[in-house]
Structure formats: structure tokens, C-alpha cells
Subunit: 405 residues, 2 copies
Amino acid sequence: MNCIVQKFGGSSVADIEKIKRIAKLVAETKKSGINIAVVVSAMGKTTDSLVGMAGEITKNASGREMDMLLSTGERITMSLLCMALKELGVPAVSLTGSQCGIITNDRHNNARVIEVRPFRVQDEMAKGKVVVVGGFQGVSYRRDITTLGRGGSDTTAVALAAALNADRCEIYSDVDGVYSTDPSMIKNAQHLPEISYQVMQEMSNAGAKVLNAQAVEFAKAKQIAIYARSTFDRKKETVIRRIEKGTVKGVKSVVSEEKITRVRISGEDSLKYFYRTLKIFEEQNISIKELHTAEALEQQFPSRASFVVSSGNIYSWEKVQNSLEDEFGDNIRFDNEYSAISLIGDGLNVDNLILLEIMNLLKNEGIKIGGFSTTSFRISFLVPRGKLKQAVKLCHEKFVEEKTE
Amino acid sequence: MNCIVQKFGGSSVADIEKIKRIAKLVAETKKSGINIAVVVSAMGKTTDSLVGMAGEITKNASGREMDMLLSTGERITMSLLCMALKELGVPAVSLTGSQCGIITNDRHNNARVIEVRPFRVQDEMAKGKVVVVGGFQGVSYRRDITTLGRGGSDTTAVALAAALNADRCEIYSDVDGVYSTDPSMIKNAQHLPEISYQVMQEMSNAGAKVLNAQAVEFAKAKQIAIYARSTFDRKKETVIRRIEKGTVKGVKSVVSEEKITRVRISGEDSLKYFYRTLKIFEEQNISIKELHTAEALEQQFPSRASFVVSSGNIYSWEKVQNSLEDEFGDNIRFDNEYSAISLIGDGLNVDNLILLEIMNLLKNEGIKIGGFSTTSFRISFLVPRGKLKQAVKLCHEKFVEEKTE
């Protein structure tokens, strides 16, 4: 069955008036004869308010209970949007992640979609209904409710589009596509009308909030084109799809992630500590970022093993730190004062020129680099948090603005 | 496995502080070696706020979408209570109605529990965990989320207690048990330390808010004693259980229900209209109260068929009325200006003395009776809404206070 998937983020459904506006937009598309599944996020500040309530109770909420709590947000939106659609005469039905057959692993707060069994979605579509789906959530093989982590509603949308073999997946938010850097931080950010799956994936992994990395992975696997658009201003858009060879090489985007923690382990038993840390992270469902720091760049604390985690999204981060410090004493160190910057594009590392340019650029401004990591699509490095905006601006000027002039 | 079920209503979990207090009470019980399943309602005003949001969108919300929306309330409470228990060192796990195996029919907004399959509850209890259950909700055989109507969390608690073969079921609210009439309306209401299942069931059916009728039905079938208590003031309680023969006969309780609508059908085709009305009520999941008015008491509108519905709990009541009026014109009439009063006790109708006394009592005060209905445990009648409190007070004085002096 021909169909499309549309996803509306939290700011697009922030209040009842916006939900009614979304309903009108969806109704127009439906009336033009297109089958639609609509994936929604929680209303504006709902998630923050739920997290706040949990915070009043405990600093160490279990992942399972947080998922139970947070998944209610999307359920509120989806039932309200269905009511608004019916009010416009459009038949609609809401389905939870579980009802849509979004099966995940049991890594709570940051679950991965393993399989999508969209039989109910297809059944309801065949009856002529708009299917409104709660994003961000799934169900584990243990039959527990899981959530998909930051940007998880994107994953829901794309995974569903892939399972339905949809014509396309439209991701609506308050920005009109993907930019060469965060436009809310850097005013010269440039709109990108088209990018490849690979570049988008690297951007998401590096912390770009516009699209979730797993979402792009699903789209790439099934060759589903993603349209990133602004909900209420549709003049521009970014299409994420397979780009034929012959793309211009060079830095496409400068992405930053503010809350990064570098974890370093030293001492004679560092290998034992390293395994133990990995085990505890695994138990706590903490993902280690791909980005690894170079070792022994700094001699005051010669680290035998070191890695980097995105600490901004870990509810129990403080607890994990404390328990590791209790166990390892001086042999483990947490550096919470870093942010990460990533330069992303095709063929960035054919030589080390860009790497050297970055080092010079930041050295001249007195910005110390906390560690490097590279792939053929990405160069990432850590800078002190207080210097983040300055460093992003410098890199964007040097590697994006100057090149496109 | 020996266990008890405790249920905490909306006012007992109205805010984070109260949730923490409940956690302490549950923790004390658990630490004394008792296995517990805790059933919770939505926090204080959550349900009202959700209903309010739906009301901003539509006057005709579908039952299914309302259930999807409203069931989020209990899910928020249950995950927060689990976090609070864990914070006190008590292992706990939250389960939705569906995860607890609460299987219902598909009568949305007012579903009946058909079966309880409490395997997960038993598994988690066997692991030493307090199981925190979202009340008021179940899952239909179509795998849709349903809600159990007013007082539905009581039903969850008792149905679960029955399925677990629990030692007892404790229902906590802001009142310390069952009274001879609504203590918030009549100051001379008398506390009842013990009542039979049958009397409690009739009271609930008649509109008493203290316990849900289906809950009592489940308790009766499995002979589970229900303890109705105040959450934070445990000096008094009411036990609902099987009472041996030899109970004192007479009126135990005067129960009222404010929002009652009398529906009357007349005309030559009244039988056809009657069937049609029943069909529409069925489609809209509107239950008809047992209470039937006597016919032709009033000659201005000689009704051929008449019945009474509890209109206060029907979201789409206005819509249903309008569509029936459109179809039947003058041949259907809705009287929304009535309330119902029920006198409940053992052996009330061995003769018609009480019935006659009521008629005289109200006639003397100029209160017109809109119709009678009796069973061997209950005498119900309609009075004008504006006269409700006066009529309850008169009946309570005459049939409860004077008899116990």
C-alpha cells in the first residue's frame, strides 16, 4: 500500500492550538488521497515536567521506571491528535509503540529498535484511517515499555516508514532542515538542501539534534528518503538520501555536543578497572561514544585507558561516577568540563591537513584540545566547555564559510 | 503465596510529597514480611486536566481515544511510586493494567474485567518485589487499552486480590470507611464498622463513591475481605465481608447520585424507538442503570417506555441526546433535572411500609418523586436536583438517625 510517514516533534505539538493546526495539515494530506501514519512526540514541556517529578523523588531513577513514566507523554499527544482529526471528519486511530509492533532490546532509556511488525498499522490504514503513533517508545522482548533515547521519535518514524515500505518519511520540527552548524548558536549557519545518509548519520552521532542516528541508519538500509522540514514554514527543506558519487568533498557541517565526560583510568590494575567500568556502564545502560581520546597527551595523569561518554542524557550519571570513584579511588578520573566538536563531510581524512589546520587554529586562540578521534567522514575533538561556542565559530568560519565564498 | 493488595486513591497520591509518604507506609508493611501489590490511581487533578485538554479539542471524544489518554495518569503515579520505594531501599516494579493481565471487554470508558491473568505479578512478588499496579485500566481482547469507569482502581485492586487469592484487600482514600450517607453532604452521617458485600454492592450501584460495584462483586465471589480506610488516619475502618445471618434489618445507608437523566419514549412507534435507543446506547457504550421509573405517573407525557441513565459519567452525553432528538423528534424526552436517592439495607421490602413512609415524608415537604424502583435490598427514587440534599437529609433522619437513637 502506498503511504507516507510524517513525524511532528515536541514544539510542533506544544499546546492544544498547535495540535489542532497539525490536525488540519494532516487532514489536507489525507484528503488528497494519501495514506498517512503520523508519529508524534510529547507535548512541549511534558517530558521535562515528568523528569522534574522523578527528580523530586530520586537522583537514581531506574531506567525501566523512567521509561514507564516518560512514555506517557507521547500517549497524551497521540490521543489528543486523533480527537482533533476526528473533529475534522478524518477517521483516525492512535497506536502505542507496542501496538505498532516496535520491538526493541531492553536497554532502557536508550533502546534500539530490533524489529518492526506493523500489522496493526497496515490494518488500520487499509480501513482508511490515519494512524497516529506514539513516537520514542517501544516494547522489549520482556514485554517492558522502553524508550529510544534522544530523538527517538525520529527513529520510530523512519523505522515505521521502512517497515511499511513508505514512499517517504517527513520529519517536521521548528527548523526548516539541516544546517552546516547549529543555527541557534552560529548566525552564519548555512542551510543544506540535500545531504547523504552517511553525513547525516555522522552528524547525529556527533550530537546534532535535528535527526536521530539510528533513524538515519534505518532510512539508509531501506533507501527511504527523509524530508526534514519546518512544521509551519515550508519554504525550505533538507532531503536526506543516497547521493551519487562525485559529491564535493570537504567539511559539510560543524556539530557540537556540550555535555561530554572524559573518563580516564590509570594505575597498575588499569586493565581490570577498564573491564569493570565497561561492565558497570553496561549494567547502567550507558553507551560509550565512538569517540576515543588519544592517550597520554597529558602527563599529569597518564591514562592507560580513556573514553568519552555523552553524559547529558544519563539520568544516573552522578551515581555511577560516585560508585566508580568509591571502587577505584585515585585510579579513575572524570573530566566533566569538556564538550565535543565534530567536523563532518566526505573524504575528510585523505590526508591530515584538516587535522593540522584545526590544531593551529585553536592553538592560536589559546584553546586547548582534550583529545582527537577521526573516521573517514568525521574529525572529532574535545574542547573546554567554556570555549565551545568560540571554537565552533572558528571552525565553521574556516572550514565552511571560507570554502563556500 | 501469602499477599495483600493495597489501593491508594487519587487524593492519597495527589503530589510528590504524598507519594513519598505512601512509599513509607508501603515500605513498613513490606519490611514486616508481607508481600504486597499496590494499586494506584492518577495523581489528584491529573485526570481532570487530561479531560480538560480533550474538551478543548472536541465535545465528542471517542471512547477508545479517551481511554488511551486517561490511562496515562495512573502510569505516571505508578512509576513515581516505584522510584520512591527504591529510594527507601525497597525493590519495586511497576506494571500497567495490560502487563498485570487485566483483560476486559471493549466497552471503552466503562469496561468490565473479564479475566485476570496475574502471572507477572506473581513472578515479581516471588522475586521479593513490591508490585505497583496502574489502577483503572485494562486491555481488551482486541489489544486496545480500556478504562474501568468511575472507581475503576477499586476494581483493579479487588480483581487482582481475587486472582492472587490475597489475604485481604485494603482500599485507602481520604475517608475512613463507609458511612450511612455521604458525610460531606450530611453532617450526621454515621460510620459503619462492618457491612455485607450485598449492601455495599447496592450502595455502589446507587452512586456511593466509596467503592466500585464491580469491585465488591469480585470480592464477594472470592470471599476477599475489603478494608476501607483513610490513608493517613487509621483509627477507624470499615470491613466489607460476608455477614452471618441474623443481621439487624433496616436501612443501613442513604445514597444519592446527582446527575441522573430520565429518558422517556412515547408515540405509536415507541417500541421501535425503544429498541433503537438501546442500540445507540450500546454503540456509545452507555450503561442503563437498573433503576426503572414507573410508567405513566405523569400524564402530560404518557411514556410507553422509560429508563434512567447516570449521565454524569458519559463524555458524549450531549451528542447522544441531540442525535436521538433529531431522529425521534417529540417522541423522546430527556429529563436532566433529576437526581436519584437510594435507601439500602437488608430486608427493606418485606412490606411496603418504608415505601409509603418515603412518599409521605417527601409529600409533606412538597418534594415531587419522579419514579420508584425497588429490590429486596434497595428502594430508589428520583427527586428534582435542587431538592436532593433536603431529601437525603430527611430520609437519613427518618430511617437511620431515628432508628439508631
